[in-house]
């Protein structure tokens, strides 16, 4: 008996042991996957070779040869496809960040208004959400673009702020601030303010925990962040000059410009995603039981404190995870840019460069990796935030 129980599991072959079996099967599966990819890889390379299509990443160093209307970094047609990659990437990031920012603000406002006791306001928001999230985003982008390019011709621009801003179908032209001598001090002042604020907020919290006295952290922060740089500017005599846009020939020259392609994409991404965020925010707030508010009131907390310290922390727990996926969606949806010719990553690097070089596989791989990285980065930041606001069970 005893020998049997001890020898029992050992006696059969290794295959009879559950753990070994699991390992063997996993190794086998892994092996098959690797073989599969090697097969695809070599097959692709062989076929590309048979067609005479070159492979490799050498094209990144060859000149792109085409111009891009919008770029955050200096770029001209003689630069390489590698540089096009960065031009496109920054254009994608800028519209995504601007979109996330605006959609969050609009979405939160809408979500709160949706719960308004005012019937009209609540219904209006209801229709906003229902209409916008049910119309395909592509149509919305085309709609905004169509609206923007029916603005007047540059020669009949709408002017405001005393002829310094010009709005027409080719964009919104604004004065460009140019830093003069002593501008550095303003930057230093801002940095100092940004360092002081978190320290101050920590000290205020400590003091409150120790003595119960509160400190107006928010308003002091605002005053510091605005006040210090302003003070520095006053001391250095406002060292900023402006470059104004001027109509020269066909178009305005100089200044800064927001082109209709960017604005249309940004608007569309914002209002579309905001509709979803509004719903998320509404659901999040409604998820906090009303008893919590009543309990807070009965303890004598002010309504604003109740919102800030009781409702929001609990609502955010519900809001943040789905909010993250909206941010991811917005970023990926920005690849619809090509429909109106906004030079994002997919339309420049993943589009024109792909077409000119024919390196479809390399370019698509790089582009996919970029979207994957952006998405993972957003997820990581949101997860970190989520952890910080998560309720700590005591």
């Amino acid at each position: 008996m005893a020998t049997e129980t001890i020898d029992g599991p050992k006696r059969g072959s290794l295959l009879n042991d559950q753990r070994t079996r699991a390992i063997i099967f996993q190794a086998l599966a892994f092996f098959l996957v690797v073989v599969f990819f090697i097969y695809i890889g070599t097959n692709t390379v062989r076929n590309l070779d048979a067609l005479g299509i070159s492979t490799g990443f050498g094209f990144l160093d060859s000149p792109a040869g085409y111009d891009i209307a919008m770029s955050l970094i200096p770029y001209e047609a003689t630069n390489t496809h590698g540089r096009v990659f960065f031009v496109g990437l920054f254009n994608t990031l800028s519209v995504a960040i601007a979109g996330i920012f605006a959609a969050t603000i609009l979405g939160v406002v809408m979500g709160v208004l949706r719960l308004s006791k005012n019937w009209l306001v609540s219904k209006l928001v209801y229709w906003y959400v229902e209409i916008l999230r049910n119309i395909p985003l592509l149509l919305q982008i085309l709609f905004w673009y169509a609206v923007l390019i029916t603005l007047p011709h540059p020669k009949q621009s709408i002017v405001f702020f005393g002829e310094t801003f010009h709005l027409n179908k080719r964009g919104l032209y604004m004065p460009e601030p140019i830093a003069g001598d002593g501008f550095g001090l303003i930057v230093v002042a801002l940095v100092v303010a940004l360092i002081i604020v978190p320290i101050m907020s920590k000290m205020a919290k400590k003091r409150q925990e120790a003595t119960g006295q509160t400190f107006p952290v928010f308003w002091t922060s605002v005053a510091l962040i605005l006040g210090l740089p302003l003070l520095a500017a006053a001391i250095t005599g406002f060292p900023v000059t402006y470059d104004y846009a001027e109509l020269k020939g066909f178009n305005f020259k100089g200044g800064m410009v927001l082109r209709p392609e960017f604005v249309a994409l940004w608007f569309a991404l914002t209002v579309y995603t905001a509709a979803f965020i509004a719903e998320i925010v509404r659901a999040g707030i409604q998820a906090v039981s009303h008893g919590q508010t009543e309990a807070a009131f009965s303890l004598g907390l002010k309504p604003s404190w109740t919102t800030r310290m009781i409702i929001l922390p609990q609502a955010l727990r519900v809001i943040v995870p789905p909010l993250t996926s909206q941010y991811l969606n917005l970023t990926k949806n920005s690849s619809l840019a090509i429909a109106i010719g906004y030079p994002d990553l997919v339309s420049t690097f993943g589009g024109t460069s792909l077409n000119q070089t024919g390196q479809a596989i390399e370019i698509i791989m790089i582009t996919m990796l970029v979207y994957l990285s952006i998405s993972l980065l957003i997820s990581m930041m949101m997860n970190y935030y989520n952890k910080r606001i998560a309720l700590v069970e005591r």
Binding site: I68, A77, I149, G249, G358, I364
Partner: protein, 338 residues
């Protein structure tokens, strides 16, 4: 979703499975039609007509191939492609041949793995502006907004031209010619640039064609022609000689009206060889003996196709110009059929 489409293209290219090398003719015969890549719609070159049927100069080439292979010009299926998608569509095998006013360039021929089978339209890049701008030369375009289709040779020529003339411009990038017409008519751009033939096509469909003029400068060579995948020589030969037969037919005066008659009455050995009465050129291509007769009968010779789709009686009103036969002062010339 664009990203989705993009990924699909990725998958399609990665799946460039077998069949890259040979056997396109067998595949085409087995499925019973030629899958032809055309434009998304460009008047005169390739666009659906009032009956919803594809028609145009490039479409005629697709029909000619079907006539040669099946004896029936209708055995074609069309895949509309944008200038950007067209090459992936051909590389991945989604289409058998691309006939979509595509410029024959070194890099497309060598690096993208294609074979251009000839030139069916000799063209060059031009500029179109509104008359009301008062511009008379491309040299006056400094600072203008220029509408340009993405994924084209014209995008590269434009950058070169403005750079070498020390001028600047704002590019307004469009994906299809329909979109381009829209933004140009809205005056998002001052100038529309593409192949001169494409400009004529675009102008013919504007709300008032007479409001727009082409500037005199032609800034590039754009030999437009059909192309196939590199590596299947038989298929390449069929495409090359489909175009050759259309041109030779014009040289010999064989038309859709007289092809049958010529085949039986002609004493000219060249004509007899073309129409299948003598020799075995059809068999050498793996096609029926009357392959070229079917092309001319059902589609017409080069000149007929040109006049029907692009010529002076059409809204495009293009002269033959460079595309006249070499014997008429043009440079259109097909190698001898023997």
């Amino acid at each position: 979703m664009k990203l989705g489409k993009f990924l699909f293209a990725a998958a399609a290219v990665t799946a460039l499975s077998t069949g890259a090398s040979a056997g396109t003719l067998d595949d085409v015969k087995a499925k019973g039609f030629v899958q032809c890549g055309v434009t998304t719609g460009l008047a005169g070159f390739g666009a659906p007509n009032d009956q919803g049927q594809w028609a145009g100069f490039d479409v005629d080439f697709c029909r000619a191939m079907a006539a040669a292979i099946f004896g029936d010009a209708a055995k074609v299926k069309y895949t509309p492609t944008t200038s950007k998608e067209r090459f992936t569509a051909l590389q991945s095998g989604e289409i058998d041949v691309l006939a979509r006013n595509t410029t024959w360039t070194f890099s497309r021929d060598v690096n993208l793995g294609f074979e251009f089978i000839g030139v069916n339209y000799y063209d060059g890049q031009g500029f179109m502006v509104r008359k009301s701008l008062g511009v008379t030369s491309a040299k006056e375009l400094d600072g203008a907004s220029v509408c340009i289709q993405t994924g084209t040779t014209t995008e590269l020529n434009l950058a070169d031209y403005f750079r070498s003339n020390g001028m600047s411009y704002e590019s307004v990038v469009i994906e299809t010619s329909a979109e381009g017409r829209g933004v140009y008519e809205e005056e998002r751009c001052d100038v529309y640039t593409t192949d001169a033939s494409g400009l004529a096509a675009q102008r013919s469909t504007m709300s008032d064609p007479s409001e727009h003029i082409l500037l005199p400068e032609i800034i590039s060579k754009e030999p437009l022609g059909p192309l196939v995948r590199h590596g299947d020589n038989q298929w390449g030969d069929i495409a090359r000689w489909t175009l050759g037969a259309m041109i030779v037919a014009e040289e010999l005066g064989v038309t859709s009206a007289n092809a049958d008659e010529m085949a039986s009455t002609s004493k000219n050995p060249e004509i007899l060889r073309l129409l299948g009465g003598e020799g075995d050129m059809g068999a050498q291509l793996g096609l029926p003996a009357d392959w070229a007769k079917n092309i001319v009968k059902q589609v017409g010779n080069y000149g007929e196709s040109f006049e029907r789709n692009l010529g002076t009686t059409t809204p495009l009103a293009l002269e033959r110009g460079l595309n006249a036969l070499w014997t008429d002062g043009g440079i259109l010339y097909a190698p001898p059929m023997r």
